[in-house]
Symmetry: C2
Subunit: 253 residues, 2 copies
């Protein structure tokens, strides 16, 4: 398969493989709500990195939950300028907003090999029609998404590049931590410097230099698709990271 192609489902998996335990942002649902939602899943798929799950404007009839891996959402203009406007970690609904809206304003791209759970809109619609509490819970999950967007605007508009990249890393660390995918030594982050540049609104060359500064400044280093903390507290400090926008305290942990 040619590199960078808009590839393709690798393999379909039995939806029974979907964890019965909540993980990540799914902790916002009660145990009963997750059981209800989980039952509505029609399919599990494994997707290859580089594949495009859906494109801006395309009519949608299903939404997906990320079970494992990393997915990005990108806004692009005609000139091919691309900005990553969101990154999804396990436990996130990637495009639940496609259900009320019908189509998306951005592309959805698989950043690293991912397992996704597919939900047909008609079944989700029935769930929320029948259960106003569940509707509010799912609504709230999309609203946290929006809160993260706001934080990204703040990060892009007001933080200097070192703080900006550090802040991005802290967010991913914190969100991955919600599903046990981060520990005191660091976390897996299989992104290229190009991806980081897309997410942080700078050029790849500049990302490279700032990562060196973070490394030489004793904050963290990135090697082999993994962030290694050198001084985690210092990193959070230089990032000016305050996780309150993630609304984690209101999770049902």
């Amino acid at each position: 398969m040619p590199h960078g192609a808009a590839a393709a489902l690798i393999v379909a998996v039995d939806p029974g493989e979907l964890p019965t335990e909540r993980f990540g942002m799914l902790h916002r649902l009660t145990v009963a709500q997750w059981a209800t939602v989980r039952d509505a899943c029609c399919e599990l798929r494994v997707m290859a990195p580089g594949s495009v799950f859906s494109r801006k404007g395309q009519p949608l009839s299903e939404s997906i939950l990320l079970v494992d891996g990393l997915i990005g959402r990108h806004v692009a203009n005609r000139r091919g300028q691309r900005e990553m406007v969101a990154i999804e970690v396990p436990g996130d609904f990637v495009d639940l907003h496609g259900m009320p809206l019908g189509h998306l304003d951005h592309d959805v791209t698989v950043l690293s090999e991912s397992v996704i759970a597919v939900f047909r809109h008609e079944r989700l619609k029935k769930l929320v029609d029948d259960d106003p509490e569940l509707a509010i819970a799912l609504w709230a999950m999309t609203l946290i998404d929006a809160a993260v967007h706001r934080h990204w605007s703040f990060r892009l508009g007001r933080l200097a590049t070192m703080a900006r990249i550090a802040n991005f890393l802290c967010e991913v660390d914190t969100r991955l931590g919600l599903s046990g995918r981060s520990d005191a030594s660091g976390f897996a982050l299989p992104l290229t410097q190009n991806d980081l540049a897309d997410a942080c609104g700078v050029t790849p060359v500049h990302v490279n230099r700032v990562l060196r500064d973070l490394r030489e400044g004793g904050y963290c280093s990135i090697r082999d698709g993994r962030v290694h903390f050198i001084d985690r507290d210092a990193l959070y400090q230089v990032a000016e990271f305050d996780p309150s926008y993630l609304y984690i305290s209101s999770y049902d942990l």
Copy 2:
């Protein structure tokens, strides 16, 4: 009253003054839905510019709809750095997301004298519990909010400053146009250059220079709190503005 103080309700108005006709984003509701929502309004208020409607973290029991004026939402950190992460125009629900979430991750500030309609969460909750279609419609309105956030991330991350400021102006023009508040000559925009700087992630000094470039480049000028088009098409061009992210085509006009 001291200048810049966190002031104050000017006057309460009879909720009967709330228009029976839909305006702006409210066109996304059906006529019947708007009648239902409108009935749930408990109060109309006029607020002075500079007053803070609500602050990050503060528990909320009501949400507001902007009827007239301009309202900004700001994210700030401890160091006092402030970024405007959203601007609200008439017809927008300013903090509907406060209902499912309970508190906000940002401040809500009145940018110019505004009329707001107040809705108690308990009444909104009852509306959405009783009417799944209305719930989805309100949900979708908050999702368009998120789509605008994504566009702001794109704008901040990928557009050069002139395109960035122009793009901001085009967005406000388009959104104000939905309630007849913009015409071929321009539109009222009672913001300071400082506000523009907050919204576009640059310094006020730089905003000033770029506004001069826009003026001398024959795009638009800002005088007396009003944007005057010199060449509206050229402005939209230099802004690389594509309004699809506003989901206007799916309005019930």
